[in-house]
Symmetry: C2
Subunit: 246 residues, 2 copies
Amino acid sequence: MLVDTGSCDAFGTACSHRRPRNSCVDCKVRPISVCSVLALDELAVLETLGQHLSLDKRQVLYGQEEPAEAVFNVIDGSLRLTRLLSDGRRQVMGFALPGDFLGLAREDRFSVSAEALTPVTVCRFERRAFGALVDDKPHLLRSLHERAGHELTLAQDQMLLLGRRTAEERVASFLVGLRERYARMGRASVTLELPMGRQDMADYLGLTIETVSRMLTRLDRERTVLIVPGGVRLLDPARLEALAAS
Amino acid sequence: MLVDTGSCDAFGTACSHRRPRNSCVDCKVRPISVCSVLALDELAVLETLGQHLSLDKRQVLYGQEEPAEAVFNVIDGSLRLTRLLSDGRRQVMGFALPGDFLGLAREDRFSVSAEALTPVTVCRFERRAFGALVDDKPHLLRSLHERAGHELTLAQDQMLLLGRRTAEERVASFLVGLRERYARMGRASVTLELPMGRQDMADYLGLTIETVSRMLTRLDRERTVLIVPGGVRLLDPARLEALAAS
DNA sequence: CGCGCACTTGACTTGTGTCAAACTAGGTGG
DNA sequence: CCACCTAGTTTGACACAAGTCAAGTGCGCG
């Protein structure tokens, strides 16, 4: 892990180099992150607590069962949140994208491990310091709690998917859900970047890599999607939503 | 739904009849509920906001997608939290037991429906009034948030179970988990009451009723458990934990 | 006593997993 | 610039865990 000294970000966006330290006020993800509930003077305080951190692809931000000494706000890139069973079976609990907050659980140990799928930039806060700020700002706590509630709803969606949906429905549902997430981030498009590999999708959907591959091929053959390098283009989003059967 | 006028509770515990209204101070589940973080004077306020409510077996406390006009604390009995797919497929998201709080999500609509599996007593709070109290008492909000974090961890356990475990592991894991929950409620025992039917277990574990039945029979035949009317006795808890493979 | 409901059991089917081989694209070095 | 290597992905043939369908069993209740 390296402290970001102001280098250009991973997706190639132009970067000013004017500021030696990160500034919350013009943070790219502020409007979609927990920080959006903070006033300007509160942001100034936050700015003194947080530090940018850059990860290379495949670097681990934190590991399952590790003491949770920090919480993070994702600025750029995407991460995989994984839980491992002792015999090697893996379940991907989710993918973190810009604007997501990591460490919601507020427990003393992480319940999943987080690894970078692409080069990643996060804003890191010492748990103690962040906790003190939260205790001082009830509206921040409320915002975190609302996020936790939303996460819980998403977790329920996923339980329904894992417990009761067919392989085709899972894959369709995954693509539709990803599209909605990108849309909420302001990246609405019919072409979806898939920063995760097939194995990650499989471990997220409770399937094998082969089944995911077969379902994508099927969707491709019937012209519902078009598989492109590094992602997927949705040719018939309506049909995909019908298949997702939510 | 009937307002509890002070009748004896469903599990046959003696009931004083001294009090026309419920008293938080000597509430049976206070030590294990969110209310445990409130001081005596705060409890007095809470007492004016809450009302006991009794449900018969099979009665619906609230339905999925219904506007969430109230939140609840379970006092007695057990409920099933269900999510339904349009074509009838069902996923049981969990079972609520005494001490559990319903309505954590703090969203405007319920994401699941809640039905009584046994006669149930809950403490009902108007959402607006309860929300106002929460806004006034940050430590209550923190307690709710901690609960939400815990729920999230449990949801992740369940996702791992649904995505990656075999039928036998699921059933074993369910029994072990239920035992731990009862233990935390002060009902530690090797004999577990199962207030839910086989179909509910199946819908919780992402299996069919037949598979659940077969796995229980298998556990019974190999003397790991003993199936008794209305529940299960754990004959070899260690073996069950090994099968659960957590 | 007998009806109804929940549960169990058996025979068979099937969706998804497993194993193994072939393909593809991106990167590296001769 | 092309040949090779590697890692990820796709495809095919086959196996099996769990689902489906259809009887049975047993128990509680009127």
